[in-house]
């Protein structure tokens, strides 16, 4: 299964980068999101996969008695997801506003916007 996940991670990175390199701003944001997903998966995978043992201590026990999933990458990813949302929403609004003002989705037409606004 890990091999498949690694394949997916590679694919997510590749497609994210490819979309990031496009001239359309919309595609760029899609790329950003794909890349974010890929990175989250990568961190998750590096914490080793464990099935059916969430990092929650059993009722009554004070420490883990059996194997448990690594909680640290999970904590990292959790904040990364939320912060990622902040970033995405900001980026989405930004292109929306740019489009409202300049009527274009093409990054290359944004090279000299200072005077035109």
């Amino acid at each position: 299964m890990e091999l498949l996940l690694i394949f997916i991670i590679g694919l997510l990175h590749a497609s994210g980068i490819y979309m990031l390199l496009r001239r359309s701003m919309f595609k760029m944001i899609i790329g950003l999101i794909l890349l974010g997903n890929g990175v989250n998966m990568l961190i998750f995978l590096l914490g080793k996969l464990t099935k059916g043992h969430p990092p929650v201590i059993e009722d009554g026990a004070k420490i883990f008695t059996e194997i448990y999933a690594d909680p640290l990458p999970q904590a990292l990813i959790l904040t990364a997801i939320v912060i990622g949302f902040g970033l995405q929403s900001f980026a989405i609004i930004l292109i929306k506003r740019v489009y409202q003002v300049l009527k274009t989705d093409d990054l290359d037409e944004l090279n000299s916007t200072d005077e035109e606004i």
Binding site: P54, V56, L78, T79, V82, F85, G86, S89, I93, K96
Partner: protein, 136 residues
């Protein structure tokens, strides 16, 4: 989007989802859940409601501008962090009050902190979504 079924169901969904989100928030220290998820759920509940009844209606329910929830949450978190100073402990040391309560468990600064996160998340998500809805 404004079918009668959707409207009726979201009318009852809002309180249920809100209570659920508080439940998720409070149990976070013991079982999966917590401030981030709880906040997101509460925000989703409001957004759902706004789709059904329109933005104005939802705003009337919340009463205050959702933006004010953000500083409020930050202040909660900050208080939770600063409280140990009263007992001459370092910043962010966990403090606990008495015996565990039913459902909630131990009450302490960590819970207050999580509540802060909860409000910040609701505030910022709603600010983003509402301002977009308003302009577009």
């Amino acid at each position: 989007m404004k079918s009668i079924i959707f409207r009726t169901s979201s009318k009852y969904l809002l309180p249920i989802l809100l209570i659920f989100s508080v439940f998720i928030l409070l149990r976070g220290h013991y079982l999966p859940g917590g401030g981030f998820v709880g906040g997101l759920m509460a925000a989703l509940a409001f957004i759902l409601h706004s789709f059904a009844f329109g933005l104005e209606e939802t705003k009337n329910i919340i009463k205050i501008h959702p933006g004010f929830l953000m500083p409020m949450g930050l202040v909660f978190a900050l208080i939770a962090g600063l409280a140990p100073w009263i007992y001459q402990e370092p910043f962010m040391t966990g403090l606990w009050y008495g015996e565990p309560l039913r459902m909630i468990g131990m009450v302490g600064t960590a819970l207050l902190f999580d509540i802060g996160v909860y409000f910040v998340v609701i505030g910022s998500v709603l600010t983003v979504m509402f301002s977009i809805r308003e302009i577009i």
